[in-house]
Subunit: 205 residues, 2 copies
Amino acid sequence: MSLRSSMPEIEFWFEFASNYSYLSVMRIEGEAKRVGVRTLWRPFLLGPIFRDLGMETSPFVLQKEKGAYVWQDMKRQCRKYGLRWTRPSTFPRLSVLASRVALMGAEQAWMGAYCRRVMELNFALDEDINSPTQLSPILADLGLSADEILAQAQAEPTKALLRTQTEQARARGIFGAPTFFVGTEMFWGNDRLDDALQLAVGGSA
Amino acid sequence: MSLRSSMPEIEFWFEFASNYSYLSVMRIEGEAKRVGVRTLWRPFLLGPIFRDLGMETSPFVLQKEKGAYVWQDMKRQCRKYGLRWTRPSTFPRLSVLASRVALMGAEQAWMGAYCRRVMELNFALDEDINSPTQLSPILADLGLSADEILAQAQAEPTKALLRTQTEQARARGIFGAPTFFVGTEMFWGNDRLDDALQLAVGGSA
């Protein structure tokens, strides 16, 4: 067994439009490395899952009171974690293109940095994340061939992969993001990242 | 200004039927005393609030996936906090009588112990919490006149008080339990108890 495969692992299911996913995307690589856990990146789309559960959009939009609370909470959470925060003027943002690119990077060394940059576009800079114009400079900054990646991201195999990944999320019982799996144990929400990592390194969650 | 009124305070809004309120009821008095914060107990009913928000019962019942997750999460959370846990065979349990008694105890020294005993009935012993037969021994164990308290709890003024308190919860924007207030800052969920206490003692949340 290789060193790589014997490292403890955490599956990280997230959505670029999700504000609580923002917190985990910014934190997970540092936290996981610190305790010797490998992050398995699993971008997916929440929209189809919400629709399947009978909701037309985010519960933070559908439930006025919860929505009002969430923005108050995010401000405090970002302060706690030392993250920048701007309430997005569009919520939830379309994230299909950003997610397709992420699927291509999931096994690559640039994945963490790419995801953090996209999340900052959305939740720190209040910019859209669904067009080549926005994503191209990020990929170029990472030393990648932006045109090539964006072309592949919009080709049919990648589109199909995102659909499959989202169906898999649904089949695993995911109803929100971020969601973590350590083996079959599911953890929902950024508030459970530490517990999930602790389970991954052999403690109890 | 008396010492009592100059102590920092946390408002603790909770519901005896709510499993995440169980965690906070068991923890809050110890945690708050440790940092020198006075707990203001605010029992209320979630049922009318859920109905007002268009839900017939708990979202953990209405949303199958979230419900399945919550019981997995509760088991782990109780292990983390060293609390007993039995998944209630009835959920959510009727909590009207337990709440009315709590309203009478809210300013009394026995409040914390009473609430913990009721929560253990529900979430450790899997017993109902809505009849004098169940609550009487708890009150007697606390050295109180159970008959007198239960009679007052079922008198019209106490019933009216519970309705008022629940209306107040709604007016404050509460949509779930537990909810904490430190001044006007609202914190939702047992996961935010520590942040709320930190704000109460003058830190940032």
